[in-house]
């Protein structure tokens, strides 16, 4: 399967990946609308980790032996054996956050104010590059 790889030497910490992740999962067509709709604005599944000049964007790694899938008590976190994509079903999620605790990368995020369900990378875009990769201005994210 294709994966997203971060090239930390090229990440400039602009966080456009986060911004376009929000747009992609907002249901809106434009950034302006997506950000104006604060109530429904999703948490970015892609996060830039930064310490001075060192930075890189991090998303769910879609582990082969994904600990989050094993930890999920509601059957909301599943791994498609055909595509290898680990996905999260918001309707089934009960908000126990076991996955958050199990993820060794910090790739699953929660927003306490907005509700219990978690958000994580769903490798949006299908065969095309996910939104974060497509909008990285410095080719610091690659999808291959």
């Amino acid at each position: 399967m294709k994966r997203i790889y971060a090239k930390e030497e090229h990440c400039i910490g602009c966080r456009l990946c986060e911004i376009y992740c929000i747009l992609e999962h907002s249901g809106h067509q434009t950034l302006v609308k997506a950000f104006a709709d604060e109530e429904n604005r999703p948490e970015p599944a892609c996060r830039v980790e930064e310490d001075g000049a060192l930075s890189f964007a991090l998303q769910c790694r879609h582990c082969e032996d994904a600990p989050c899938v094993a930890a999920c008590i509601a059957g909301a976190m599943t791994r498609d054996p055909a595509t290898g994509v680990v996905s999260h079903d918001k309707d089934k999620c009960v908000g126990c956050w076991s996955c958050v605790m199990m993820c060794p990368f910090g790739g699953i995020h929660i927003d306490i104010e907005k509700g219990k369900v978690v958000s994580k990378c769903d490798l949006c875009g299908g065969e095309d590059a996910p939104a974060c990769v497509a909008h990285c201005p410095n080719e610091a994210l690659i999808y291959e």
Partner: protein, 501 residues
């Protein structure tokens, strides 16, 4: 000073309907012109800090930003312009020289724009570069006057070392230190992959660029930074830098802030120490001293590499260039007044030297008159903006040109002229690791190769239009140029007829 009298140069305009407060602009600005308030996430701009580099404008995902030059401020005055007064205010507050970067921004006449190229009509057919080979290949170096043969018909003439260029364009000298390693890497790789050369400037050759030595013209400048036996051996040619078009007659100063660990290792100077290049070479006080250095470098490279001498276009450029050729230079590079720099006193950049067009035309004519034109190749530098400028330079007599500013523009430079601050937001003229990351050499190489390819296509098209299929037939072919808006004397110096004649 309690109150600064320096007016803001730019106005940052933010369209509140479009701004999503994502903060990208604040993270991109290295001059504190865009700031996020940590308390409420609101964003504010500071016009006084803005340098007009357009980084925030370019990265803003909703195109909410504009950064525009402020109009003349206060009572309008044609002579005492806002910029003139701002310079005085700056100096009154600092007591220092006005510093700047890139090439002169005064509205100097660009003589390329006053010359037009020819094309074939009826009497000789133009040639279609899509159907016929169109040759841009150029060899730089000293050529013998003629080829001699022995009795068996074998040539006995030895060819001095040559640089082979697949197009008559090279990247100009820019030192690692003044520019980032990724900028240097981009040029080195683009040169290697396009069949041309890059120039180390006076900053030495970083270890990671050593592999591109076959495409490197290595400079020996007055500070001798980074010059080692390996540096000379691992090169295509060696260039003695006498002067630079942006700052003829003065040396260089790389502030200690830009002397990072890598720069320190490459230049062989202490980290954090200012790198001062003396104004003259202190072993060259006359032409015979230059000759000694040329031959010392030939000797130390075993006569396998052409030796270039780069000089700024100054008033007596003609005898200087002729002297350099007679002193043994295989290549003479001439840098005109519009040439760029990483740092120069503004008054020097904007007032010292002469335009490359006149320097090139006069030197080419004189070398031919003296019968020594074949002894050295001429490389013109100083503000080549497009392929037409290059074609016109070749028609005036250049063998090739050096690109500096246009290569940087291809890499993202927006000519804010703040190179000397070391805070280049485009990751070009900086050593700050947070900023240098912004130029991904993978992208840089692609952009530079594209530029060279695009200009090659245009040059071939123009060449074919003139009914030629080799750049050899344009070199010094001033019949292919006609001038407008020039005095008879200017036309005479350029050796160009007026349009209509």
């Amino acid at each position: 000073m309690p109150l600064s009298l320096i007016p803001a140069e730019f106005e940052i305009r933010r369209n509140p309907d479009l701004c999503i407060k994502c903060g990208v602009c604040t993270r991109q600005c290295s001059f504190s012109g865009q700031n996020i308030n940590p308390d409420d996430g609101s964003i504010s701009s500071d016009d006084n800090s803005c340098v007009g580099c357009q980084r925030c404008v370019t990265l803003c995902p909703t195109h909410a930003l504009q950064v525009v030059q402020r109009p003349e401020q206060g009572r309008r005055h044609a002579i005492w312009t806002t910029a003139t007064r701002a310079g005085i205010a700056k100096q009154a507050e600092t007591g220092g020289m006005l510093l700047t970067g890139m090439g002169a921004d005064k509205p100097f006449p660009v003589y390329w724009d006053r010359m037009f190229l020819n094309a074939s009509q009826v009497t000789n057919p133009s040639i279609d570069p899509l159907r016929e080979p169109m040759e841009l290949r150029t060899y730089l170096g000293s050529k013998p006057n003629q080829v001699e043969f022995d009795e068996q018909g074998r040539p006995v003439t030895a060819m001095p070392p040559q640089l082979r260029l697949e197009l008559p364009v090279m990247f100009s000298a820019m030192s690692f230190g003044s520019i980032s390693l990724s900028t240097a890497m981009s040029m080195a790789r683009a040169a290697a992959e396009s069949g041309t050369y890059f120039n180390t400037g006076e900053g030495g050759l970083h270890a990671s660029l050593r592999q591109y030595g076959a495409n490197a013209i290595v400079q020996v400048a007055s500070g001798r930074f980074g010059v080692t036996p390996d540096y000379l051996a691992n090169s295509a040619a060696v260039e003695i830098k006498i002067g630079q078009g942006a700052k003829p007659g003065i040396g260089g100063h790389l502030p200690g802030e830009k002397v990072s660990a890598e720069v320190s290792a490459t230049r062989m100077i202490p980290q954090g120490a200012d790198a001062i290049s003396p104004a003259p070479h202190h072993d060259i006080y006359s032409i015979e001293d230059l000759k000694q250095l040329i031959w010392a470098l030939k000797e130390s490279t075993n006569y396998t590499k052409p030796i270039s001498v780069k000089i700024a276009a100054v008033h007596n450029i003609v005898p200087i260039a002729s002297g350099a050729v007679r002193a043994g230079a295989d290549i003479v590079a001439i840098d005109g007044i519009r040439g760029g720099t990483g740092a120069a006193p503004t008054m020097i950049r904007d007032n010292v030297g002469i335009p490359i067009e006149f320097a090139l035309a006069a030197v080419d004519a004189q070398l031919r008159k003296e019968g020594i034109r074949h002894q050295a190749s001429l490389v013109a530098a100083g503000g080549f903006r497009n392929s037409a400028d290059i074609m016109k330079a070749i028609a005036l007599g250049a063998d090739a040109v050096y690109l500096g500013s246009s290569a940087l523009v291809a890499l993202g430079c927006h000519m804010c002229q703040k190179c000397y601050t070391g805070k280049c937001t485009w990751g070009i003229a900086t050593q700050d690791p947070y900023l240098t990351k912004r130029l991904n050499p993978e992208i840089g190489v692609k952009r530079l190769k594209n530029l060279l390819r695009a200009w090659s296509l245009e040059m071939k098209e123009m060449l074919g239009g003139m009914g030629m299929n080799s750049i050899d037939s344009l070199r010094g072919n001033r019949e292919m140029l006609r001038g407008i808006e020039m005095s008879a004397q200017e036309l005479e110096i350029l050796g160009v007829s007026p349009a209509g004649r």
